[in-house]
Symmetry: C2
DNA sequence: TTTGTAATTAAGAATTACTCTTATTTAATT
DNA sequence: AATTAAATAAGAGTAATTCTTAATTACAAA
């Protein structure tokens, strides 16, 4: 699952920071590098746990703030949730996920989807379009097979 | 904005509950009715505030649990967020919103979007498809015009 | 109708996840 | 090297949601 980060990625990261007036700190590089390498959708706490050995001083708050800054400047993405833990993603390509409404699990959709249409209001109304996320509401195979059990047993999502 | 709820809606609500082994309580009817009539995207607290006069004993927790049960059985939808307040929606048609990554505001897209393609993996893999949500990542007109100001000034989203 | 029982509810405590405040440190510029 | 705005760490604070327990209620079966 883990991918090695390329020099080109770091170069474009550096360029992005400069363009947005963001200082290039050791912490930011470490956080971005981890997000790129993991290839997953880690939460702030996941990143915190993963980096705490190599960066003992790095705080949860700094990681969370940094990830939000990355998102707000369009460097990374947030995987939709229905509240719960916020998950980040360095893959800025077209995103599609399935969300099991029963257990809350998020599944990646491997196959690239066909184009999902354009954004009608954007140009006319002064919105700047950065990207798009698609989430399919589903019931996953596991939940389907255990259907009939009490709803209360299905605990709240993580 | 408010719409009057039809008998047919209550009938299909009743049917849905029976099909999912959910008891039809006064509280559940009141909550569903409010969601249908409001036509908006209320949070749990919005529903709580709106119903507290007519139903003094109805607790926040019951409302939240009920709305989650509705969602988990496919009766209502949750409007995507990137964490913050969870918002519910009784309109189960195709949903599209714009999310300003800078200030966190969610904008409805009025025009119905063209079809967004189908779900490639669903049938083959045993997922049951309930519906689909699309979110466009944007920078809203307000944030565009105030660009250049410090990122720190842009406080966390609500 | 009455009774049995599992589902539902209310209340408040607890938890989770995130955000703010303050003092200190640092990166990039001068 | 000095300057300064930005970034950081630590811990406190907050918002939102969920859990626990005991009481109540809807529905089904007798």
């Amino acid at each position: 699952m883990s991918q090695s980060i390329r020099t080109a990625d770091i170069e474009s990261f550096t360029r992005h920071c400069r363009e947005h007036g963001m200082k290039i700190t050791l912490q930011r590089v470490a956080i971005y590098r981890y997000l790129m390498e993991s290839g997953a959708h880690p939460s702030t706490d996941d990143v915190f746990q993963a980096l705490r050995d190599d960066f003992p001083g790095l705080s949860f708050d700094t990681i969370n703030r940094t990830l939000m800054t990355f998102y707000q400047t369009g460097l990374i993405d947030i995987v939709e949730s229905r509240t719960g833990v916020r998950r980040f993603d360095a893959n800025m390509g077209s995103h599609s996920h399935m969300h099991c409404v029963s257990c809350g699990a998020m599944f990646d959709i491997d196959d690239p989807l066909p184009d999902h249409g354009c954004l009608p209001q954007a140009d006319a109304s002064g919105f700047e379009l950065l990207g798009k996320n698609v989430v399919f509401r589903v019931i996953c195979p596991t939940c389907r097979s255990s259907e009939g059990r009490s709803l209360r047993e299905g605990s709240a999502w993580k």
